[in-house]
């Protein structure tokens, strides 16, 4: 009886809430981290299929990376995403200091630079599609578009999330909820840079060789 009542009371407040208040935040960030690792497995599958299909045999006589990628343009995209991640680093430093305006400025910068990255990629792909170089052309290009566009879609959702956090921090300030969301968004945004380093090196640069 006493035990049942205790469990009921605990479930109302959260098992960790009463004595270890900060653990609710740690549980949420660890949960999101495990989601990010499963997301990374999706990329592992896409990298594996790209590694198999990026043989010139699978280009079916069509273009390969060397024909469609400009290495300096790809490096400009790399700089944009790395700088956007650095701007998010500013967000974390401002958050640590409790500086609301600093967090908002950092979020705005991270959004702007991330948007430039997405714009560069959209420009690159629209140029290719205009020339008839689409995913249906060959298995090689299917694997290329599947991998790079999955990353690009992650970036678009990341931008939506940054814009949402900008509005929430501006309207609500630093509450438990806005702070753990900022921590999760940090993981999500940094993760995109890690994936892009691999895309830039193994898809774009290795393909140019």
């Amino acid at each position: 009886m006493g035990r049942t009542a205790g469990v009921a009371a605990a479930s109302e407040t959260g098992l960790w809430a009463e004595h270890h208040h900060h653990d609710a935040m740690s549980t949420r960030t660890l949960g999101f981290w495990l989601y990010m690792l499963s997301d990374a497995m999706i990329f592992a599958g896409l990298f594996a299929s790209y590694a198999v299909l990026s043989h010139h045999y699978n280009a079916a006589g069509g273009p390969t990376i060397r024909d469609i990628v400009h290495p300096f343009y790809a490096y400009a995209e790399t700089l944009m995403i790395l700088t956007s991640v650095l701007a998010y680093g500013w967000v974390m430093v401002a958050l640590k200091a409790g500086n609301r305006n600093g967090v908002l400025i950092g979020l705005a910068l991270a959004f702007a630079l991330g948007a430039v990255f997405v714009g560069l990629e959209a420009h690159e792909f629209s140029g290719l599609l205009h020339q008839g170089i689409d995913a249906e052309r060959s298995g090689y290009l299917s694997a290329f578009y599947a991998l790079v566009m999955t990353h690009g879609i992650h970036m678009v959702f990341g931008l939506l999330w940054i814009a949402t956090m900008f509005a929430q921090v501006a309207s609500q300030g630093f509450t438990d909820k806005t702070v753990y969301r900022l921590l999760n968004l940090k993981m999500f945004w940094h993760f995109q840079a890690v994936i892009w380093v691999l895309v830039f090196t193994f898809v774009y640069m290795r393909g140019v060789l």
């Binding site: 208040h21 900060h22 935040m25 740690s26 960030t29 660890l30 981290w33 495990l34 690792l37 990374a40 497995m41 592992a44 599958g45 990298f47 594996a48 299929s49 590694a51 198999v52 043989h55 045999y57 290495p71 300096f72 490096y75 790399t78 700089l79 790395l82 700088t83 991640v85 650095l86 680093g89 500013w90 974390m92 430093v93 958050l95 640590k96 409790g98 630093f174 509450t175 438990d176 702070v179 753990y180 921590l183 993981m187 940094h190 840079a193 890690v194 380093v197 691999l198 830039f200 090196t201 193994f202 640069m205 290795r206 140019v208 060789l209």
Partner: protein, 116 residues
């Protein structure tokens, strides 16, 4: 003390933020990727590519894991680090085994000669 526990900004995952670490990660990653660009673009360096590309990518990823994600064995990030280390073998199996299988495919099947 009670105030500290209920202030989300005092949470260890907020307080672990390290501005110089983020700057170092940015500079090193940008330089490593510039190095990859140079190796690929200038013919005199191309011979290094098969070694330099994986090495630069691995180093950049490692730098980002340590300086951006700040993985380590502190109490704050112990489980994050352990879950990451446990998933690394899955990456190796998913990507490495697939590449290995397909690389040796033409030697072991009727596709011999087709891929060249």
């Amino acid at each position: 003390m009670a105030h500290d526990i209920h202030d989300p900004l005092k949470h260890p995952e907020v307080q672990i933020a390290n501005g110089w670490g983020y700057v170092a990660s940015y500079v090193l990653s940008a330089l490593l990727m510039a190095g990859v660009l140079v190796v690929v673009v200038y013919p005199s360096f191309v011979a290094m590519a098969s070694f330099a590309l994986p090495a630069a990518a691995a180093l950049a990823v490692l730098i980002q894991i340590v300086l951006l994600f700040q993985l380590g064995f502190s109490k704050t990030h112990a489980w994050t680090t352990i879950s990451f280390l446990l998933i690394v073998p899955l990456f190796v199996i998913a990507v490495g085994l697939t590449i290995w299988m397909f690389n040796s495919l033409d030697a072991r099947t009727m596709m011999a000669g087709l891929m060249h």
